[in-house]
Every structure is written in structure tokens, then in C-alpha cells.
Symmetry: C2
Subunit: 339 residues, 2 copies
Amino acid sequence: MSKRVGIREVAAAAGVSVTTVSHSLSGGGQLSDATRERVRSVAEGLNYTPNRLASGLRSKRSQIIGFISDEISTTPYAGRVLLGAQEAAAANDQVLMIVNTSRDDRLESRGIDALLQHSVDGIIYARMYHQAVKLPEALTGVPIVLLDAYSDRADLSSVVPDEEGAARTAVQHLVAAGHRRIGYLNNIDDIPATHGRLAGYKAVLAENGIAFDETLVTTTESTTGPGRDAAGQLLALVDRPTALFCFNDRMAMGAYQAAQLAGLSIPENLSIVSVDNFELLADALLPGLTSIALPHYEMGRWAVERLAAELAGDADSAPQQIRMPCPLVHRQSVGPPPR
Amino acid sequence: MSKRVGIREVAAAAGVSVTTVSHSLSGGGQLSDATRERVRSVAEGLNYTPNRLASGLRSKRSQIIGFISDEISTTPYAGRVLLGAQEAAAANDQVLMIVNTSRDDRLESRGIDALLQHSVDGIIYARMYHQAVKLPEALTGVPIVLLDAYSDRADLSSVVPDEEGAARTAVQHLVAAGHRRIGYLNNIDDIPATHGRLAGYKAVLAENGIAFDETLVTTTESTTGPGRDAAGQLLALVDRPTALFCFNDRMAMGAYQAAQLAGLSIPENLSIVSVDNFELLADALLPGLTSIALPHYEMGRWAVERLAAELAGDADSAPQQIRMPCPLVHRQSVGPPPR
DNA sequence: GTGAAAGCGCTAACAA
DNA sequence: TTGTTAGCGCTTTCAC
């Protein structure tokens, strides 16, 4: 730390004015390439780094992106979102300032105040799973991009996973393996993932001439225990499914346990595909769990890049609300149906 | 956003000078309580919020804490650390600016530059698992607290988990349940957790008059597959262990699988305790996995609080290097030994 | 007790 | 093509 070198030292050392230094470094003004180059090398020689507080104060651009999320922790996915956002920010010479709200309006309000006081240039408003949000009043007029969230404000860009597409990919994979009797362990929460994935499941069945059988669809909490029970129920059917599509990896883990209890081996007697591609689980299960990956990292990157584009003003005029595709990650839990 | 109200508007509205407003709000100066109170209410009425860029520029205190970590993502624990750090920062009216290095020196160096340019008041230098670090030159002179890391610099405060204590608690729990033949699935990496937990394991055996038997200790990569193999090996012993202490939950999951393959049920035929308390796994396993929790959230909090104390100058003069205790979380994987 | 005024380090008009 | 200068919004001497 000690005494950082400032723009005037650079100016003096280069024998020019501070203006020239500022222009040289920021690429502004009308300078000869020679001067620009010389100033730059002097600055570098002096180990000059700008004071962003000062430049932000003057120019009204702090180069700070605020990141508000309801839960930084709890889910292991959160980290990937942050990582993507952080890397994109770094690439734009921006930095991330984070705030966690724990789904508490007061904390959220304080957090927004803190970000605004620090003059963030814009805010990524993130949720840890795909859901509808209502933006707080305090954010009015601030550049915002929604992440894993959507609102009724058509003027905001947002990014969410393509839930229906995810389910389509998963179920299509099972159909391609020869399955026609496919169960679905759905979540019970009233959220886009629940409805979107069910829609995808039904669509693929229809497209393949497979009649929808509601006895093959269960609706429970999306954790391991309920998944185990739900799968057990389906596997006890006289005409049991030969494959299971699971809402998430945790439910799939329950399905593995149910299969074991029923004496069925995977994938010989039962094929399983789920959503999340949470590696700690998917890789650890025996055999490995084939799963649809949610594009957390990509959504983080996209949100920051989009925000940067909007801030730069060179963005396509219209805000974008996009759904990200969710790729299938092959492991060993899918095989042909038993004969 | 629009036109934020500044300190001069408040001054005008309250009929005082900007100095008085500044003093009133920051608690400085020699003002009458009456004035202070009046100014405060006027400021609140006007919805005044200070511009931290300006105050930071002038006062040399940005109220920003930098958070550098090698991996924001990958591990699910990272989130808890960040959460603790964030909450502690918010409580101190500070905010977190995060940077990820991906264990890349160039990225780290850029990240440090970015934080310094934004005039962070101090930095939490974090690793995602307990390890030795060498601090980059660029950080010289900057207030630092190490998190899940330690260095040879005695002038820095740091916090790490008490690895030996964690193992002691785990193994003692097994001994208390009546076990005397206890296997240990250790990690192969040359890190403090590996050595510390082995030491704790040995210490408890010794204290209970149980001879150390090296055939009961395996050393492999700390993931599920290797854990499965290692456990399988121990369970195949003629005088097999009645309990297993596992380096982490992932290895414990492997041990569950090995037990199943060996036809042993948990906890009737085999008791298991591990370290991490990664709920997604520990809760999902059948039966629930008893595990030692690593104090991620607490370390995050402690690091920020300690840094704040050092910055405030009211800290105990000497830096503190502490080991945090790791509590046992009871589930259903421990029982008495089979007779 | 309170206020005037000088900057913090930089950028952006405007001059030259 | 380059330099002068006036602030950005606040804190902090220092004078009253």
C-alpha cells in the first residue's frame, strides 16, 4: 500500500499534463500514438494504478457490478453462477460486489442501499432457482439483469434455464433407448421447473405416440426421502415403468435406493435420468447417474455480459429474455428396457 | 437513481453547514444532541444516503472488504464461507467485493490489483480447504486475514478448522458406542486435514488403550469410488472393523456402497462417522450419516470480524491464529458393535 | 458548538 | 494535439 503513485506523478515523469495521462490510459481524446505509447510505458514503469474511487466519483462509472441473491449458499449451484458472473466481470475490467438477502425484505433493502451507496453501475438480481420475482421499489431506474428469475417488467433482460427443453432432452434420451413406459418423479412446488418439466415430459411422450398415463407421475417434495418413496410406489406397480425421469439428482438418489430395495439393478432393470448434474451425487452414485446439467455458469456469464452491454449502450436496443439450453451429461444409468 | 440527494441539500434543509451534517451523521465533532438529532431526522426525511465513493476518497476508508478465494465454486462449502463473511460484513456496514483466482497466479494478480484499485480496506484471503499459502508480494502492507489457510507470517491472523479435534470427536463417539476395532479411510493428499485427522484418530485409540493397527488404515483419493474400494478392502478382513471413520462424506458414501455389496447393514453390522456434514449427502444416505461439521459459516464470520477489529485498531494487539472446533452432527449411522 | 474552506485523485469541458 | 481548470460529494483541519 504505502504511498500509491498518482496520475500527477505520471504526468510529471512523462513531461505531459494530467489530462494527457488520463486520455492515454483511457483511450480517450485525440493524442498521437507516440505520446499515448510513451505515457503508457511511463505509467507502467512507475507501477501506476488508477484510483477507482476517484475516477468513479468523477465519471459516474464505478466499474462495480452489484450481485444480489436470495441465497448465496445452500445450493451447490450458486457457486457456479457466481463464478461465471465473476469471470465475465473480470473480463470487462469490472468487479463484483455481493449481497445476500436470505429472502428477507429488510436485509434486501439494506443490501440494495449498500450497493447504491457504493455507486454500482448495475445489478444482477439473482435467485437460486428459477422463479418469478417482484423487483423492490428501491431498484427503480437502476440497470438490472435478472438471473434464474423473471418478472412482469418487459424492459428487463433475464436469463433462465429452458425447463421444458431439459425435460424433453431427458425423456427423449429414454425413448431413444427403447423405453415406452417412463415414470416421472415430479416436484410438488408450484414453480416453473415443476410445470415446465412436466410439459416437456408429456410433449415427448405425445410426439412418440406414447399415451400419457397419470399413474406413472408422482408429485412430492424434491428430496431424497420422498423420491425414494415415490419411486418405490411406481416400482411396485404391476406394470412397472422400465425407466424413471427424476425432477432432480436428489430424487434420483432416492430412486436408486428404491431400486435397490426392490431388488432391481440399474440400468439392467431400470433406467434413470434426472436433472441438475450435481457431480458430487451423480458421479458418486453407482452406477453413475445420467443427468441434465443446468447452465449455472453460463447464466452467470450471460447476465454480466448482457448488463455490461446495456451499460455500454451498444446493446441491441430491446431487452432480451432468454432460456438457456440444458445439455445431457451421459453416465451409466441408462440402458435398453428389460425384455 | 435519478438525482440522489447530497449532503448540501440536507444542510440547506436543516439550516446548518455541511460540516455539521457530516458530523451529525458520522458521530464526529462536538455537536449538541439537539442539532445532531434534528439533522439526522432531516436527512432521513430527505432519504439521504451518503456517496461512499466520495467519502471513501476523502477518508481513505471505502468500507469495502476484498474476498479472494481460489475457488468460489466447486465445493458446496464455499457458499457457507461467503455467507458468513457477507453477513458479518453487513453487520459492520461493510460490503464484500469478491475475486476468484482459479489457482492461477495471473488471475490472482489481476484480482488483487482490481481490489486495491477500488481501495478495499482489507482482504480476506481464503482457500476452499485448509492449506498452507504463500502470500503474493502485491499484498504486502495490506490488512489481511487468512481463511482456511495459514502462512509463515506470524503477523497475520488466520482461522482454520481444528482437524485433530474433529477426528477426536468422531472416533471418541465410536469408542463411546463400544467400538474397539475402528477403521480409518484416510485421504492421500499431503494436506493438514490428512495428517491432523490421522493424529486425532491415533490419539483417541491410545487414550482408550486400543492398539493402533495399520492394516485398518487406508490411504486413497478422497472421493466416492476410492472410498468404496478402500472400505471394501477393510470389510473383507477376517477380523473386520466394526466401525469406520471416513475422511469425508464422499468417502463415507463409498463405504455405504461397500457395506451394501458386502451384505452388511448400517448401523447394525457397521457404524460409520465421517467429516464434512455435507447435508445433501449426509441426509440423503440411508440411514442418515453421522458426520462432523466443518465450521465454514463461522470461519467466514470470524475472518471478517477479525479484519474489522484490526482495521478499527481496537483489536487485541497480537494477531490471532485460531483453530475452530468442529461439532458432531448425529444421524443414524452409529450403533453398538455387533456381538 | 458550528462553519468556511481545502482538498481526496481523477475526468471532462474548454482553451490554446 | 495538448494543457488548464473546475468540480464529482464528501471529510477534516482550523478558525470562529
